[in-house]
């Protein structure tokens, strides 16, 4: 437990508050001291913990895979290269079975998404109080360690992918072709307004569902860890809580991997759709 005097509600709320650096009401920039203060900062604020952890994990990914790529050999691979090649081959197989166009960006992007999101999700398995407690000792009040429980992070990634969807759609089909795809489908041309509305919703639903799916899954998982952590009061409830934490962690390991995989695969599917030049309707 972080602090014994907290009520359960406060405990949960504390855990769900980001370390926010932003514009204070008086115009100066500073770290928020409470959830309310963070909320008041509005858009001009940045979640230092989410960004820090996500960038840190991204750098670990780049360092680890970069190291393997630098010392890569076509001969007998070592331990790290084996691991990296296994992941690369898995992603390569997945991508080549879904994506049939020529684009060298897609597979590396899927690899980045899979590994990075997996690592961000994996932070969920670090005991919920450990890092917040340590940072509290260091004088930092809020610390959310799982970047993928922050909608900014997941939606940010989804938006980057959305930009790529638009870019490749226009690049492959031309502006007219892309418009035609949105307007003349699925109903005949006279109903193009209706088509446009329908297809736009479909298009916009892609990044939103992509980002929110990951966020929702991770947020719910994190929430269960927090709720189970509340049980750490007495010996009996603490023991039961510990067992439940362990069980949920085992189950969550599946979700962690699955969500990373789903995010990567859906990205590839959306990219494939963006590249598909459809025949006339």
């Amino acid at each position: 437990m972080v602090a014994q005097e907290l009520t359960s509600g406060e405990y949960i709320k504390h855990h769900l508050t980001n370390l926010t650096y932003g514009k204070m009401p008086d115009g100066s920039w500073a770290l928020a001291h409470s959830a309310e203060e963070a909320k008041e900062m509005g858009f001009w604020a940045i979640n230092v913990d989410s960004m820090g952890w996500s960038i840190g994990l991204g750098i670990i990914f780049c360092w680890l895979f970069g190291k393997a790529a630098k010392g890569v050999t076509a001969g007998i691979p070592g331990g790290l290269q084996n691991l990296v090649e296994m992941v690369v081959e898995f992603i390569d197989d997945t991508v080549s079975s879904t994506f049939n166009h020529r684009n060298s960006l897609i597979a590396p992007m899927a690899l980045t998404i899979f590994v990075w999101v997996f690592m961000m999700n994996l932070m969920d398995l670090v005991p919920v109080d450990l890092i917040p407690y340590i940072s509290q000792l260091l004088g930092v009040h809020f610390m959310k360690v799982v970047p993928s429980t922050d909608p900014n992070i997941t939606m940010g990634m989804a938006l980057t992918i959305f930009v790529l969807i638009l870019f490749y759609s226009i690049n492959c089909k031309g502006l007219g072709g892309f418009f035609a795809e949105l307007a003349f489908h699925p109903f005949p041309k006279p109903l193009f307004l209706f088509n446009l509305f329908l297809e736009s919703v479909t298009l916009i639903a892609k990044p939103i569902s992509l980002g929110l799916r990951l966020f929702g899954n991770m947020y719910a998982g994190e929430m269960i860890f927090i709720l189970l952590a509340i049980m750490y009061g007495g010996i009996v409830t603490g023991l039961v809580g510990g067992v439940l934490q362990w069980g949920w962690a085992m189950f969550h390991l599946l979700i962690v991997t699955l969500q990373a995989f789903i995010f990567a695969v859906l990205t590839v599917v959306y990219m494939a759709q963006a590249h598909d030049v459809e025949e006339e309707h």
Binding site: I55, C62, A74, M109
Partner: protein, 156 residues
């Protein structure tokens, strides 16, 4: 839980990581894997070729062995025939030689016999003359009776 600047910061971060992976991580790894795949395929093909070569060589060796066996058998047969012929020839030679020797011996014996007869004849003539001298008590004129003696000796 507020949407704020983090959203855009993450968009940029994400793009940067994708770019890094695209440029610096993915190509060398995939290249190395392809290279290894190729070398394994080459190795397997070479092994297959070598196995085929070995099979061919074995076939050839078997053929050669069979040919050699046949040839050896021929040689053996020829040699046996020749040996038989030589033995036959030697037998014939021996028989002829034996016959020749036998003939020679026989003629020599005949000569000896004749010679002995001749000597005997002379002696018998002498003996007869001596005997007759004794019986008649006088000498016989050799010259007078030589014709008679010669006919006598020839009768012996």
């Amino acid at each position: 839980m507020n949407i704020n600047l983090t959203l855009f910061a993450q968009m940029v971060t994400f793009a940067v990581f994708i770019w890094f992976c695209w440029k610096h991580i993915w190509p060398p790894i995939v290249e190395a894997m392809a290279e290894r795949q190729k070398s394994i395929a080459d190795g397997l093909a070479a092994a297959e070729r070598a196995a085929k070569d070995l099979e061919l060589a074995q076939d050839r060796a078997t053929d050669q062995m069979r040919e050699a066996k046949v040839e050896a058998q021929q040689h053996i047969d020829e040699a046996r025939d020749r040996a038989k012929q030589m033995v036959e020839a030697a037998k014939d030679d021996a028989r002829l030689e034996g016959e020749r020797l036998l003939e020679a011996a026989r003629s020599e014996i005949d000569q000896e016999v004749n010679r002995a007869k001749e000597a005997l004849r002379v002696q018998v003539a002498e003996l007869a003359i001596n005997g007759a001298e004794k019986v008649l008590g006088s000498s016989i004129d050799r010259a007078k009776h030589s014709a008679l003696l010669d006919t006598l000796a020839a009768e012996l």
